[in-house]
Symmetry: C2
Subunit: 343 residues, 2 copies
């Protein structure tokens, strides 16, 4: 089994049809009372190529292959009653689903499955029923083996197919990602365009700010002088990248705040915006476990050893905290889970 | 005199006020009969930090400092009668102008100036009048010296100030560039949004194409498999970059054509889109003389020696020809002019 491919379990009961037909996973970012939920945080750990067991109505219905990392995306319109709920911003992962011919009922295999259930965040109760409250969770390798044996040859065949796919041989893998993100930003831009409480100049300023240009860039240049990573200092090659994303900002103040920006060359801007990299307050570079290291290296990011890009001021730290919490592709609970001993 | 700073002459008679107040130079791309004009092609050679003598009404009125390379931009609205002429796409360079206290009349200094006038593309006639038909032209170093001596200490002071400015110490230099370009694209997007001859899906597809995403990216992925420069092959890090820019495309077909795209990591996408790099049909990498080499190197572009990224197919070559002719920052006439012997 490829050590790079990780395995996940998703309880899709209420949204099974929408997610499998639409080719994605979607979760909110927070519980209804605003707290963190480990089963939503796991979304941030998925990498393209990971496998997902799709569970619905006591059956494993399909195996999915992730085609993207998690990205911020509004609640899918097909979930709700009245079109997109643009305010409910969650995590989305693009997934290609392969329906199984042999859709097994784990409850029928509990003697083999039970010993492999992890003590925390288990996908199933010991009686084989789904675990209330679990959306996405991690499947330990030995449990994967049991499930694959139970499903039979088609699971192994699928696994073999997935392992043999080399980027970018398969178009399936290589479809666009993050379309939801782009569409969402276009929606916000339309909102600004039609906001008659803003002057024409204010509207243009806010729209330019999304492109990392205009007044916002000028503001950031009062604080930052070069790309923290590549050290490029020529304005024509730098974008003013929002630390708290433009799409998440509460209003004009945050969208234009000098402290809410870094000057970054375009590839670094992309990696930062999509949460593949972030920074500690002291300037230590954080690289997401979801990142594809050799791709980052080809883009000029040093991924080995520790890199410090210089500290940040108090106001910047406020926004950096948001970036680490809400954008950076890191699940806080990962270590606890992946280090659970395989009993 | 810094060998990196080059000197230019602009005859601004009709647009002097607009250009100096607006802080830019602007020229069409072509003559009214559609041909090339060397005085427009020179726009593509200006680099940030270059000096420009601003000539109007027989006087040198100001010295400007270029703050950007040339970028595609619509005709400034203040030139015309009835708002922006979005169809007239020309070259724009951002310039900071310093008005001179001693505005000299070159005709008064012709005994010193005349011997230094270049035989081709001369900014002045031998009688000291401006040359009809010249917009922007090159000023040979010895002519620069004569003009500086004629203007007196303030020219040298300005030169000293400019030489001492290190990127990015001066905010003046570091304001945003290419705002016109962004505004123009936003204008085109608005046009698409309000085009009722297109379906909602077609409109979204065309707008996503500008971001290098969606159907266009999928199309390009049928032809290209990785970034030609960085060799990154993960879809999540690649943009489908238009060879003939989205903003210049005649219609939907060109905007979505598989042959009109390359998969590029974001920094390379930026350099290609802004004309700092291009490719020969055989895949040889072209680096613009207007590019800042050490910045390119920091972004992972090998600038020394020759780099070949592999050849292009017939359809791609069609679009690459457009890129080299219309986007790449290279003036055809440069060599002829700069190699004129200094008599």
């Amino acid at each position: 089994m490829s050590s790079n491919v990780r395995h996940w379990w998703v309880n899709q009961n209420q949204t099974f049809r929408q997610e499998t037909e639409g080719g994605y996973l979607w979760s909110p970012k927070r519980n209804s009372h605003g707290g963190r939920n480990p089963f939503y945080e796991f979304m941030r750990e998925i990498s393209p190529g990971d496998l997902v067991f799709s569970f619905e109505g006591t059956y494993i219905r399909a195996i999915g292959v992730a085609r993207s990392n998690a990205y911020e995306s509004p609640k899918p319109p097909e979930f709700g009653k009245a079109g997109p709920n643009w305010d409910a911003i969650g995590w989305r992962v693009d997934v290609k689903y392969y329906p199984l011919n042999n859709q097994i009922r784990p409850a029928d295999y509990m003697s083999a499955i039970r010993p492999e259930l992890p003590p925390r965040y288990s996908p199933l109760q010991s009686n084989g029923r789904g675990n209330q409250g679990v959306y996405l969770t991690f499947v330990p390798p030995r449990l994967v083996d049991v499930l694959f044996r139970s499903i039979g040859p088609e699971a192994e065949q699928l696994h073999t197919i997935v392992r043999s796919i080399e980027y970018p041989a398969e178009v399936d893998y290589r479809e666009e990602t993050a379309i939801g993100l782009v569409e969402w930003e276009e929606h916000l831009i339309n909102d600004i365009r039609s906001n008659l409480n803003l002057s024409e100049t204010e509207r243009e300023t806010l729209i330019l700010a999304r492109r990392g240009q205009g007044v916002f860039k000028k503001n950031v240049m009062q604080v930052e002088s070069q790309c923290r990573i590549t050290k490029v200092d020529r304005a024509e090659h730098l974008r003013a990248s929002h630390i708290k994303p433009w799409r998440d900002c509460g209003g004009s103040d945050e969208r234009l705040s000098a402290a809410n920006g870094l000057l970054l060359t375009p590839s670094v801007d992309h990696l930062f915006d999509r949460g593949f990299v972030s920074f500690e307050d002291n300037g230590d570079l954080l690289i997401s476990p979801a990142a594809h290291l050799s791709s980052l290296e080809k883009m000029g990011i040093i991924t080995a050893g520790s890199v410090n890009v210089g500290g940040f001021n108090t106001d910047q730290r406020f926004f950096l905290n948001y970036h680490r919490e809400e954008v950076f592709l890191r699940a806080r609970v990962t270590k606890r889970v992946t280090h659970v001993p395989q009993i």
